[in-house]
């Protein structure tokens, strides 16, 4: 089957939005055209670079009183002219494209945002426009915001090349990180820590910011398989390394799908947490600690884990979880790539 070329073009402002069937529960399938009467926000994104994005859009949906639809790249994206990138569309209540932005490396230009906002002015409200409304205004503003947010996150697939001569990085240059097996290219100042780069720029929020001074261990990640504190190193220093966060821990040990890393399962089995804030750091620290040359005793675990603080006091469960993993020959030396 060939795709007619006109379907690859980005729909014009004011043209009818290409209709498609919305994903939903079986028996509840609806089409985009059935949502008319209210504005709809469409966000396209390549899912491979940011698993937190879908959650972001789900949050928008909870906050807004109109639908925000998050779509992967695929046949629908191609019908909206989005081949392999990120884009945001606002569909008005009459089912027509009222604003669009294809996300590149730059945020929407002031002109584009001005156009979107001027479209919301009363003079532009036509009797047949499908009804500009407060909701449509909010949808457009949120879409512009989303487009800017996406810009910060967009990954540029450039090969990593090791510099031959001295390289000096000033402000806001591309920093290339390999996180959980994926290449990320982020515009960062040198003063951005690895923790902030992961959380605030890449949307990888598993590593937590507790003290931000290396005292609590909540930000623990693996670099080349070793546990480190992501708050005490700059992202620019970690280029070319294999960075693993809690999001990628199971996969790094060979698990597939939703399967957990043995240490994650052990923390569940032994109640190794209460509030959970320190837990991703505890698990990352523990998963690396079992590969270190510690003795077999509970006290050895306590000593090895002293850089991870738990305010809830889940320590007995944490020690039990780690000892379970260490005593099981199948999981004791479960390594990473």
């Amino acid at each position: 089957m060939t795709t007619p070329p006109e379907e690859c073009r980005v729909p014009e402002i004011g043209s009818e939005a290409p209709d498609f069937e919305l994903a939903g529960h079986p028996g509840q399938r609806r089409r985009l055209s059935e949502l008319r009467g209210a504005p709809v926000l469409l966000a396209f994104h390549p899912s491979h670079w940011d698993p937190s994005w879908a959650e972001c859009v789900r949050m928008y949906n909870r906050m807004l009183d109109f639908p925000a639809i998050c779509l992967d790249t695929g046949p629908i994206a191609r019908r909206y002219g989005v081949a392999d990138g990120a884009a945001v569309f606002v569909i008005d209540g009459a089912g027509r494209v009222s604003w669009r932005h294809t996300v590149g490396v730059a945020p929407p230009s002031p002109n584009e945002v001005a156009e979107a906002l001027s479209a919301c002015l009363p003079t532009s409200v036509g009797a047949d426009s499908g009804g500009w409304s407060r909701r449509h205004f909010v949808a457009t503003v949120v879409a512009a915001t989303l487009a800017i947010a996406l810009t910060r996150r967009v990954a540029r697939a450039e090969p990593i090349t090791r510099p031959r001569a001295a390289t000096t990085v000033g402000s806001g240059e591309a920093v290339k990180l390999r996180v959980n097996g994926r290449e990320l290219s982020l515009d960062l100042e040198p003063r951005v820590t690895l923790l902030d780069a992961l959380r605030e720029y890449a949307g990888i929020t598993g590593p937590k910011k507790g003290c931000d001074h290396g005292q609590c261990g909540a930000c623990t990640v693996h670099v080349n398989g070793r546990r480190i504190l992501s708050c005490l190193t700059f992202a620019v220093m970690q280029q070319g390394k294999e960075i693993t966060t809690i999001e990628g821990l199971a996969a790094s040990a060979g698990a597939s799908g939703d399967a957990l890393h043995p240490m994650q399962q052990a923390f569940i089995d032994h109640d190794g947490f209460q509030c959970g804030y320190c837990t991703s750091g505890q698990i990352m620290s523990a998963a690396a600690m079992v590969r270190e040359a510690w003795g077999p005793a509970d006290d050895d675990v306590r000593e090895a884990m002293s850089g991870n603080i738990c305010r809830c006091g889940a320590y007995p469960g944490i020690v039990a979880a780690i000892q379970t993993v260490r005593k099981n020959p199948a999981t004791a030396q479960r390594g990473q790539r």
């Binding site: 001295a166 040198p190 003063r191 290396g214 480190i228 700059f234 220093m237 850089g307």
Partner: protein, 334 residues
């Protein structure tokens, strides 16, 4: 944090030249520097990352044998790696123990050996930019003198500063009489020098802002452990407020050479109580030639702390340090 530019040098030459500029800091593990930069206690305009040099020259980050029977530790070797290295554990257990008593597992994986030696001597007032500190802001006064000074030093202090040198491994290295190899900007070999680690750190004196004898642009390239057979009988004992991941209130590195029930040679150094890693030669002299008895250990401890100057909250450290030394000597001679 203040903005800065970041340079990954391609060679040691480039690094030392770039590092000699004003307002420049080298970074290796970053575990102290990044923390102090967040507090804006450290505000470099240029940051030189030494880590890429280790990728090019593996000897900068590894432990190897020296022809004289000693060990060479590359400056960029990580604390955890050195601690677990078999020749270090077997021949210099005091160093392995000191490394494992320092910081936390994550920090030991990051922190370099040379960076540990060159971490700032610091106290809570040094970290707090809202309070006067002669080290951070020369001439502004010392907040610790009349402040809460429980964690502060009792040996090597001056009227201007009583901050404690925080390193554990440096204490072991001073006891082992290690040497540090230093490389500065300029052509080899004039740019290279070797010094005993005991000469690396400065007492605060009238310039507490100066902590080492290194000139701008100079980096440590290696730490060399001399052969010391009796160091197989050595121990690091660290006393702190909690059992792990805390600075020493008092710590000691000891090694004893005992034959025929007599102490032939001894090494004693202290941490947690002094403004620099503190070799206690008076204690060593008091031990040599004596039998390994509790009385001899106590006499050595008294000799070591004879010059101690305490302040309102840290007088307990005098007796604590003595007992720490007696216990360490008792354990290592058992």
């Amino acid at each position: 944090m203040k903005p800065f530019d970041y340079t990954a040098p391609a060679s040691l030459d480039e690094a030392t030249r770039a590092g000699a500029r004003p307002a420049t800091r080298f970074i290796a593990g970053g575990t102290t520097l990044v923390d102090l930069m967040k507090l804006e206690v450290e505000t470099p305009e240029h940051l030189i990352d030494l880590n890429p040099l280790g990728d090019r020259d593996p000897s900068l980050g590894s432990v190897s044998e020296l022809p004289n029977g000693g060990l060479r530790i590359g400056a960029l070797a990580r604390m955890s790696d050195v601690a677990w290295t078999a020749p270090v554990k077997e021949r210099y257990p005091v160093l392995s123990q000191a490394l494992l008593a320092a910081a936390s597992g994550q920090i030991r994986n990051m922190a370099s050996m040379a960076g540990n030696l060159l971490q700032r001597t610091r106290c809570p007032y040094f970290r707090d930019t809202a309070t006067p500190c002669n080290k951070r802001d020369p001439g502004s006064g010392c907040s610790a003198m009349q402040g809460f000074n429980r964690s502060h030093a009792i040996l090597g202090t001056s009227e201007l500063c009583i901050a404690t040198h925080p390193s554990d491994p440096a204490v072991a290295l001073v006891a082992l009489a290690a040497n540090v190899r230093v490389r500065g900007p300029g052509a080899q070999p004039s740019a290279e020098r070797t010094m005993p680690i005991a000469s690396l750190h400065l007492l605060p004196g009238s310039h507490p802002e100066r902590e080492t004898v290194l000139s701008p642009g100079e980096v440590i390239t290696a730490i060399e452990l001399p052969p010391l057979p009796f160091a197989r009988r050595s121990l690091y004992l660290k006393v702190r407020d909690r059992s792990s991941y805390a600075f020493a209130l008092a710590s000691t590195a000891v090694a004893l050479d005992i034959a025929n029930d007599t102490i032939r040679d001894a090494r004693v150094a202290f941490g947690g109580i002094a403004t620099k890693p503190w070799r206690a030669t008076a204690a060593e002299r008091a031990l040599i030639g004596k039998r390994a008895t509790a009385a001899a250990f106590r006499a050595a401890a008294d000799a070591a702390l004879r010059g101690a100057v305490s302040h309102r909250d840290n007088a307990f450290k005098v007796e604590l340090a003595k007992r720490t030394l007696v216990r360490a000597l008792t354990e290592v001679s058992a």
